[in-house]
Assembly symmetry: C2
Homo-oligomer: 562 residues x 2
């Protein structure tokens, strides 16, 4: 079919252009990544930049970047002696730019395991950007390194394909979350300060001296106060990927700084936040992990404790706690009788499938000094681990069980002062409407509008509907928690200036990501994590600072006595 | 036209559904925002949540949220006395939920200035969420408040339409930037630590005591070292909306914490970064500000100083510096002769258009103690301001002039020790290739691969191609800057382990946004900024902390002598 006459000249021009482009393809040099060349590219002149993965018998250089590897052929002909000697003198992990022509590998030498395994590049020129001098360990996925060495040379550790994948996946998941919140649901991304004031009971907050004698900022554990103030400020939907700080010394697998997906909404109820978060996770969930199903299951705190002995049950397997109190009601066994005769006493058991060897059970006996439900919760998890060690399949590592736990008690008896109550989560959580009257009579019985999100037995998020009336907030702080409300004057004043009902949630991004990539440690999804002891082993932070430098902050070090 | 037979039943069902939905519309209650109702909605039952903007004559309540305002009619009939008294007892800025029916305003009472001015809501029920108790100032755009009052009651200040717009625009611009970098250009969003180690010459870094005696973290001024380490780690394209910290005491319009769009790429040259940033700004530029044109103009540092007397010229107006040295070569005027007789001496002038009153010129004479080009640069800007005060149009406030300034000197003479050189920007900037040899002979003549982005005379970004060879970096640190390279051992080791050529840029997000919204201060685009003196006037941070609480950090306060 001929094109209409009127377009003939345009058609001719385009045709010429296409012919020209096809012709040009064999003269132009294209910059490619190391993972993308295929047999389609044979005959093209290409340029690759990357790291030398290894050299083979003065014949090949294997070049690597984030996308994969390509085999580069070292020319053997006499006239290319200079190029050959440059390539042969390379060290592993040196950075080069190589230009050459794509060709098919000789028959029988294709590598089916390598995406670029059909082709190779015959080198024509090379530029050595950086000759790698020395390496504390090899950048090979199969080479095991100690955790300390990985941390000290983190810039090398991050070259591994696993860490490349983790960091890139994290970036993509967060981007999807932002699209969902910002573009699809009208949330406003707002940055809140990290140089703030000490919060009541903020024993885990880092302090930052200012240039005014005796005055300190604190690094907050979360943007909790700011997000509530933003609701009072009429920002109806707030979110932030927020950096948070917690000084917990050497608690294992905690980081002094960590990241949470921080969300707050006005004019919302508990179910509204919960379905928002379900949509958020479904939208940002990596396709390669398979779909997740909505809505997530919900369980009350009471049910979780009764059936699983823990407030964050791993629901991937059963082995629930079973109450045997009725059966043993008329038993003669002394320790069972004793247990049942106590107020609130009970007898519970878990049924562990066969497969555990007898010796393994002995490891468990350490627990036996406790006498409470959480003991059985621990026992249940440890049994699962032991069974898996023995080769019994208990938890499918490819499934993701999300679960909401709700109806937590609002207050708990203080561990250190049992006559006092303390907040189960934080002092801003609103009571369940039907329990509000108990605040003034039996506060220990009040359930809060708090919800925890649990994934495969790990807490990955928690939130609540907040108190939005100053009088109620003041009563909780002063009369129930016995805290000084003047430290929160700004928040109480704000609640008196037209505060909408509001609530929100914070998701632990590091933990969520580590479960997605099936890593034991959140350090595997953080680019530059601190060690167990809070050290940066690469730069050796924290570090000594001279007394002179501390003078402008009006502080001096108290050195401990020998 | 009849639908095909085969679809008849589907068609009937759909038709029924549509009729049902139209019917339902008059029975269902829809939740709307306060800015969206129009005459199309007349007859619908709706629910609005918002703040009481004002009450008028016991007849109307004007309800506001982020999206606008709606007039609510207070029913006057006897049977609605309870609803009427609840509405009439409301205070301004109280938060309510009101349900009622949309109706046309009576003829002649429409408000053309109000997007919802055609309609009103006849209230049928109300829920008072929060009765506003007291207000330090009215939430009206025309009510001027002092800066201190705005900061102390920031949660009220943010309710203004201007601050609502600023924060929402900021969120949208950042989202567009992320889409451009992450989705369109394969950048990886990576969070870097803020608890780090003191950097050489880091006098402006906040210190954070750890629980180990004498050991401190520092809050970094930028992720500079981390982004370079990420390039060494094989993350070829990194970006982060990064929180940065700088302790500058009371320098005006600086914030102790601020945000930069932080970008770094491997295997890139200066022009690559520059065109990336141009595309980034074009993509994220708010449509209502009109398009920006690419490529941006480029000027060398030498040209900027020669023609504008400043390294960040405002090119929205001319009034360039003119060299008159030749004309005055044979002058008899003593101070001109004296100037020209000095080595490198010159005579320059600017031509100020008529319009300045004579008295205004007297204000300028304070400058006259300086003798240098920057004097004329200052004079040029001050003349423009004075002209504008006198009603002469000099700079069009609606235009945005982007400009790249390039070819900066790599080193400057140290202000405090004139025999030493210091980095013009930072010690990691690479020299221009053609100047590299001068590093070893005449370092003061070396130009750097540094580029500043200037918008309407403000620096909004700066970046460089970095040194990627350890030997060169060590030479610069040790031999030219006389700094101790052991503080940067980790970076130097990294450059020896296969570092690709790389470069990047950081854009000052707060400043960029403040220019977009035509605000004088970056405090107008930050949700909770600090005051000039670095105070949070709302929560009164920084605050006193007891010696007891400081003990776990092994520090004590040195109180100044009276």
């Amino acid at each position: 079919m001929n094109p209409p006459i009127i377009y003939q000249s345009l058609y001719d021009t385009l045709l010429e252009l296409v012919v020209y482009l096809i012709f040009l393809r064999y003269f132009l040099v294209f910059l490619h990544s190391c993972g993308e060349l295929r047999s389609d590219h044979v005959g093209e002149k290409v340029t690759l930049c990357g790291w030398v993965q290894y050299l083979r018998q003065e014949l090949f250089v294997i070049l690597r970047d984030f996308s994969g590897m390509t085999q580069v052929v070292i020319p053997q002909k006499e006239s290319a002696w200079h190029l050959k000697s440059t390539l042969c003198d390379l060290t592993v992990e040196s950075v080069i730019k190589v230009t050459g022509t794509v060709r098919c590998r000789p028959e029988g030498q294709e590598n089916k395991l390598m995406p670029t395994g059909e082709i190779e590049i015959l080198a024509e020129s090379v530029e050595v950007y950086n000759l790698c001098q020395k390496l504390p360990f090899e950048i090979k996925d199969f080479v095991k390194k100690s955790e300390a060495l990985r941390m000290q040379y983190r810039y090398l550790d991050l070259r591994s394909s696993q860490m490349q994948r983790n960091l890139r996946l994290r970036s993509q998941v967060v981007m999807k979350m932002r699209e969902f919140l910002c573009n699809m649901h009208g949330f406003v991304d707002i940055e809140t300060p990290t140089l703030f004031k000490r919060t009541p009971g903020g024993a885990k907050e880092f302090v930052v001296p200012s240039r005014e004698p005796g005055r300190f900022y604190c690094l907050p554990q979360s943007p909790q106060q700011f997000k509530q103030l933003l609701m009072v400020a009429g920002i109806d939907r707030y979110f932030q990927i927020a950096r948070c700080y917690r000084d917990e010394g050497s608690k294992p697998d905690r980081q002094p700084e960590f990241t949470q997906v921080d969300i707050e909404m006005s004019f919302v109820e508990q179910t509204g936040i919960m379905s928002l978060v379900e949509g958020l996770l479904q939208h940002s969930w990596p396709a390669e992990l398979g779909p997740i199903h909505l809505p997530f299951n919900t369980m009350t705190f009471e049910e979780a404790m009764r059936d699983y002995g823990v407030d964050k049950p791993d629901t991937r397997f059963a082995m629930k706690l079973i109450d045997l109190s009725d059966i043993f009601m008329s038993t003669d066994v002394p320790f069972l009788r004793s247990a049942l005769s106590q107020p609130g006493g009970y007898v519970q058991a878990i049924c562990v499938p066969s497969g555990l060897r007898r010796r393994k059970f002995e490891d468990i006996q350490d627990f036996m000094s406790l006498r409470q439900r959480t003991l059985l919760g621990h026992l249940r998890l440890q049994s699962a681990e032991l069974l898996e060690c023995c080769g019994v399949s208990v938890r499918d590592p490819s499934v993701f069980h999300f679960l909401w736990v709700v109806d937590f008690p609002l207050f708990l008896t203080s561990e250190h002062e049992p006559e006092n109550l303390e907040s189960a989560h934080h002092p801003f959580t609103a009571p369940l409407p039907e329990d509000t009257h108990l605040l003034y009579t039996e506060p220990q019985k009040v359930r809060g509008q708090h919800y925890d999100l649990v994934l495969n037995g790990c807490e990955v998020g928690g939130g609540s509907i907040r108190i939005h009336k100053a009088s109620e907030q003041r009563y909780v702080l002063k009369n129930i928690l016995k805290e000084d409300p003047t430290l929160l004057t700004h928040l109480l004043e704000a609640l008196d200036s037209g505060a909408p009902p509001h609530g929100g949630i914070a998701l632990g991004l590091d933990r969520l990501l580590s479960i997605m990539v099936a890593s034991q440690s959140i350090r595997d999804v953080i680019a530059f994590p601190k060690s167990f002891r809070g050290h940066d082993l690469m730069s050796s932070a924290p570090d000594l600072i001279s007394e002179e430098e501390l003078k402008s902050y009006h502080i001096s070090v108290i050195w401990p006595m020998e």
